[in-house]
Amino acid sequence: GPILKPADKNKAIARDYLRKFYNLENLMGTTHFRPEEEIDPPSDKLKEMQKFFGLKVTGTLNKETLEVMKKPRCGVPDVAA
């Protein structure tokens, strides 16, 4: 399979995190012409997550946000599905 660039891998991690814990809908079935790993995580969901964790609310995937996403955690979503 294709080897992802580090930046793309982080986007994939972020999307997976937001999908699991912030009710981000799966993109399957929608029209996208790029691999999912190349699509930026949605700003509104990132803001929601950053606000919950008391991070600087930027709506963009930064180092601080990614570090929180990589921490071990409970599998129950932070927002109601």
Partner: protein
């Protein structure tokens, strides 16, 4: 603190729990004690009382599993998700599942302390959702605390007492 949508709760104060299987990471008495102590965290501040059963279906069924384990929410291997639990209801409601790809410990910083993870999950089993208060037990990310120095935060206490009221003692 926050509660689940619809604020589900147990309609009784006497609840049962059953340890369905064990992790190889710890001895059986260590797991038993960690689970008992984790439930006691919540019993200390509410009228809730917990009785262990060894057969049949308990309100809170506790199990260790890896990857796909039959509830449509597969675990993800080492790190990442440590455990999950279900809000109060019949059936799977209240049940707590622990990812056995983690290295659970009695009280070491080398791996997640089972007592701390279990106490958090039992908060969900009783109706609490995640808190955005850093340092609260119900904060979603894990951080090591010496189990002998653990105390429930005021946010957690307010949360659980908003559902079940104050302790009767």
């Amino acid at each position: 603190y926050s509660t689940f949508e619809g604020k589900p709760k147990w309609q009784k104060n006497k609840l049962t729990y059953r340890i369905v299987n064990y992790t190889p990471d710890m001895s059986i008495p260590e797991v038993d004690e960690s689970i008992k102590k984790a439930l006691q965290v919540w019993a200390n501040v509410t009228p809730l009382r917990f009785t262990r059963i060894n057969k049949g279906t308990a309100d809170i069924m506790i199990s260790f599993a890896t990857r796909d384990h039959g509830d449509a929410q597969p675990f993800d291997g080492p790190q990442g998700t440590l455990a999950h639990a279900f809000a109060p209801s019949t059936g799977i409601g209240g049940d707590a599942h622990f990812d056995d790809d983690e290295l659970f410990t009695l009280g070491s910083s080398k791996g997640p302390v089972l007592f701390l993870v279990a106490a958090h999950e039992f908060g969900h089993s009783l109706g609490l959702s995640h808190s955005d208060v850093h340092g609260a037990l119900m904060f979603p990310t894990y951080s090591f605390t010496d189990p002998d120095r653990f105390s429930l935060s005021s946010d957690d206490i307010r949360g659980i007492q908003s559902i079940y009221g104050l302790t009767d003692s």
